[in-house]
């Protein structure tokens, strides 16, 4: 595995807070779980209507998904297993010579 399989089970989740209350709740849990924000680049930008893509580790994703279900915040899983996505990024070309 590339990168020592460090992204196994990690997810990328998209959230678009529908209100400032949802945005605040998300900011708090992002802070707590130390997520890797793909979009926007900083938690400070998370606000009502902002597309928010978060990369979250396998363990932390359980906490986040439970929180989202409990608070009825809509979400969509963009990447189910980030390790597989990393491997796929160049899978079509790996058989070819790079030069």
């Amino acid at each position: 595995h590339s990168y020592d399989n460090r992204y196994a089970g990690d997810k990328v989740i998209r959230l678009i807070p529908k209100s400032e209350e949802e945005a605040l709740a998300l900011k708090n849990i992002y802070h707590q779980l130390k997520v890797d924000l793909w979009q926007p680049s900083s938690i400070s930008y998370v606000s009502e209507g902002t597309i928010t893509d978060v990369h979250i580790s396998q363990n932390a994703s359980r906490t986040l998904l439970a929180f989202l279900q409990e608070t009825h915040i809509y979400y969509k899983v963009l990447i189910e297993d980030l390790q597989k996505a990393v491997e796929n990024e160049n899978s079509l070309q790996t058989q070819r010579n790079r030069r």
Binding site: D36, W38, P40, S41, S42
Partner: protein
């Protein structure tokens, strides 16, 4: 050789540097490669001067890719741009005009340490790799480290954050080296183009405030034409406009700095996609992404040459 290098895969820093040296040796009429300094970890910061060496003083366009390490499509585009320019110089009148009248200064990988780290350790590393003795977290956001409203809205003063602005403006040797080069040549650099991912946007100043730039109409027209041209290739839609309104307010970035330092046409591209793959844009999408972006860049350059004062 140029035709054997595979432009439809992502390349390591070592590959890209070998590619630069190869072109420097094999394309003496159009290419000159030189270093403008060293990175925090001591790597050379290579840039390529691309254009017919007809006279010493020519107006110029600056292009940089890979300020943020994990945005691999950026360096792929910079390489694609060079290939297209060299291959079509003799057959495409527009390219011939651009390379005859202008020098392009192209920095294929701005954040060399971060890019290398994203290949070897953490695919999603964004910042530089500098250390601060007081904190365990490494790196500064190289697009928040410029001396223009430094460390204000949209930047963080905390070293562990992804948008950390650094201990002071131009603290990062990579930023300082590029800023020095642009300051030295600012009178002849007409345009500054920076390539990022992902969002599908073409942005122009200001980022740090909502005010309109003085040459708005010319810049807006160029951006409008560029995204229209881009869309004509594969139907991909890009939003365009002032960064503060189109993306979000951010301070201390390179585009605003270039504009404030006298480069009248400053743009930042946010390349494909809009989140389906995010930073992991598959290699099979390098070609369509670069083909459409190429058209947009040519469009902007020709517009500036022909119409903008």
């Amino acid at each position: 050789s140029l035709s054997e290098y595979n432009y439809e895969v992502y390349h390591s820093l070592e590959d890209i540097q070998s590619w630069l040296h190869h072109l420097n040796q094999t394309q003496p009429g159009l290419v000159r490669v030189f270093s403008i300094g060293r990175s925090y970890e001591g790597r050379p910061l290579f840039i390529m001067q691309l254009g017919r060496k007809s006279r010493a003083y020519k107006r110029a366009v600056w292009i940089d890719c890979g300020i943020h390490a994990r945005e691999w499509i950026g360096p792929a585009f910079c390489q694609w741009f060079v290939r297209e320019a060299i291959l079509t110089y003799k057959t495409d009148p527009a390219m011939k005009k651009m390379l005859n009248h202008l020098y392009f200064y192209i920095m294929p990988v701005f954040n060399v340490d971060g890019y290398h780290f994203s290949w070897t350790h953490d695919r999603f590393w964004r910042k530089t790799r500098s250390r601060d003795s007081k904190f365990r977290c490494r790196g500064v956001d190289a697009n928040r480290n410029w001396k223009v409203k430094w460390c204000d809205e949209g930047a963080s003063a905390h070293p562990c954050d992804d948008t950390y602005c650094g201990p002071f403006p131009e603290s990062e040797p990579e930023v300082k080296a590029v800023a020095n080069f642009l300051r030295k040549h600012r009178k002849r650099i007409r345009a500054y183009l920076s390539f990022h991912a992902y969002a599908q946007m073409l942005l122009y100043p200001y980022s740090y405030k909502y005010a309109t730039i003085p040459n708005f109409s010319c810049v807006e027209f160029a951006a409008h034409k560029a995204v229209k041209a881009l869309r004509s290739v594969h139907g991909i839609r890009y939003r365009h406009g002032p960064a503060s309104q189109t993306l979000y307010v951010s301070s201390g970035n390179s585009m605003d700095w270039a504009y404030k330092n006298g480069i009248p046409y400053a743009f930042a591209f946010e390349l494909r996609d809009t989140g389906h793959f995010g930073f992991l844009l598959p290699e099979m999408l390098i070609k369509p992404t670069c083909t459409e972006t190429m058209l947009a860049v040519k469009n902007i350059t020709m517009h500036l040459l022909k119409k903008c004062p």
